[in-house]
Symmetry: C2
Subunit: 341 residues, 2 copies
DNA sequence: TTGTACGCGTTATCAT
DNA sequence: ATGATAACGCGTACAA
């Protein structure tokens, strides 16, 4: 049914291996021979069988990226990875882990069978055992965005701590007194780093820092909503809210609306931006992380390790950019209850 | 280096094929034998080699989903596909085509080599030749969201026409007089279907319909921005804007803000919702498409075709839901220039 | 510059 | 219920 190297060889009047060499540029082939081969390939509509090739070479030329691709930030990181991978002759398998350990483990199992050449992972703290498993099987991997305690590995991440510090310092400079910080889960290193940066700035400003203003939860819109409700219902609510990512920020804005509070007149809001090209960043002062660049660098680290499995683990910390938006209000106008459209 | 079926067989004191049968449940294996085999598998840490298996069986148990995964809507569809695929024992390769013909063709080529079992594609009009190529190689595929003229294939899509009609009728019922329609590219069937539905509603209401109020462009935020600027700068601007998807809607809202126009007091806005869990849908009346369901159904169609390659092409048109939000204003408060934070 | 022989790890086929 | 043999399609090693 399917056309094989043999068929092409027969048609071109050469041996199979010669065809292989002509197509893979793995050895010199006479100009005329090569022409005959290429002609045969075209006529027969030959498509090389990468499965057979992989079996023989023990290389699949396939990489996997494990994360929650539903989140546009990671989708953008994926783009960075893909672009570079394509150039280097690798395909990328994107996998939805939903940040859930079970799904993560399941995918790793599936992909180990498929003999994937390498992994790029956005881990949580729970990923430790899974990563150990990869090590046991000598499959290279690179971490993105988050470090995992006890796992020495190549890693690319944004400078969350510095970013959070800049954001907080900016807030203090513009007159903020009580800054509520709504952050992600303790199982994710960035959530804690952003808290640390926030505390750095307070300390530098000689402010005490009220522990009760820091709320750990999820990097999600519902959590932003819920945490805001809790903070603003207190006797002494914060005058400013720091959302540890943009999903949280959206929830924050929604919750403030239900309280009838205006942004930024009544409560100022800032956030870490984990999405590109989406609304939040246009209205709020944010710290922007270079998603695509992150992907590109992760890929580069992985390729380097594939080439030299024994090099020392490398950690790249990307600088993040504070983007202050003072001249821009919000394009949405507050609607009146019962009056929207 | 790697443990093989042979190694396990030797350890368990049986032949390789017996191990294969025990692991794949492809034939009965004595209870005691099976136990010995499973023990050996565990002791040796055996991981089956799917590459070899694929070569022998000519089945990779791998499917591909081609689209722009950066768009959360497609990412959600992907989730629907993945969930079902996992259950059925298939892996899914997600590919970013950016809706660009070249990237699409490149991926198809790459994946044909890998002997992928089937494709799920979000096509544009330009995808025709690529799909023909798949047919030539007898690789099954399913289309999602869009039909392609001249290509008979399984297809799942939302009822754009009806959705647009409902949305438009709703607007007319609430007093809209001049509805500007900002839609996607002519190369995408949904863009035209939404126009058709819009025109259906106008016709049904006995309204003339002003062709100049319909603007084709892209399904992007910048296009929404640009088109709105153009429409609102006219001598007789529309009193209502219909964004053909949510990215466009975001651009629309931004542009209206630069004009100092309020939503919905000055201009009402509605849109097709191509994203879940994101801001737009919370403030505007929208038509919601069941993304995850779309993915699930697409997968089901593909599996059916894998089982019976010769069945007649099937087209599933999903009903869409009009979600009217009148009781909800916008959580963002308009900031004053120079005063944000 | 081109060819021969063999093996990668698994499963289809036939046999016991 | 289990085994022997061959073959899937390609690339490595060596040879000519």
């Amino acid at each position: 049914m399917a056309v094989t190297l043999q068929d092409v060889a027969a048609r071109a009047g050469v041996s199979a291996i010669t065809v292989s060499r002509a197509l893979n540029h793995t050895s010199y082939v006479g100009a005329e021979t090569r022409a005959r081969i290429l002609a045969a390939v075209a006529e027969l509509n030959y498509v090389p069988n990468a499965v057979a090739s992989s079996l023989r070479s023990s290389k699949t030329q396939l990489l996997a990226f494990l994360t929650d691709i539903t989140n546009p930030f990671w989708a953008t990181v994926a783009r960075g990875i893909e672009d570079g991978a394509m150039e280097a002759g690798y395909g990328v398998i994107l996998c939805n882990t939903d940040e859930a350990e079970v799904k993560e483990a399941r995918y790793v199992d599936l992909l180990l069978r498929r003999r994937i050449d390498g992994f790029i992972v956005v881990p949580t703290r729970a990923s430790g055992p899974i990563l150990q498993n990869l090590k046991r099987h000598h499959v290279p991997f690179v971490l993105v965005d988050r470090a995992v305690p006890g796992v020495a590995a190549d890693c690319v991440r944004g400078d969350s701590r510095s970013g959070a510090e800049q954001l907080t310092a900016h807030l203090l400079a513009t007159g903020a007194r009580r800054i509520g910080l709504i952050t992600g889960p303790r199982t994710v290193s960035t959530a804690e780093e952003r808290v640390a940066g926030y505390q750095d700035a307070l300390r530098a400003a000689g402010q005490p820092g009220d522990e009760s203003l820091i709320l750990y939860g999820q990097y999600t819109e519902p959590w932003g909503y819920q945490a805001t409700q809790e903070l603003m219902a207190r006797p002494r609510p914060p005058d400013t809210l720091f959302a540890a990512n943009n999903f949280i920020a959206i929830g924050v804005l929604e919750a403030l609306h239900t309280f009838g509070l205006r942004v930024p007149e009544d409560v100022a809001v800032v956030c870490f931006d984990d999405m590109t090209h989406l609304t939040t960043a246009r209205f709020l002062t944010t710290v922007i992380q270079p998603a695509q660049e992150m992907g590109r660098l992760a890929l580069r680290l992985l390729l380097a390790r594939l080439a030299q499995p024994d090099r020392a683990p490398e950690e790249i910390i990307l600088p993040v950019a504070l983007v202050v938006r003072r001249s821009c209000g919000c394009p949405f106008t507050a609607g009146r209850p019962g009056g929207n459209q």
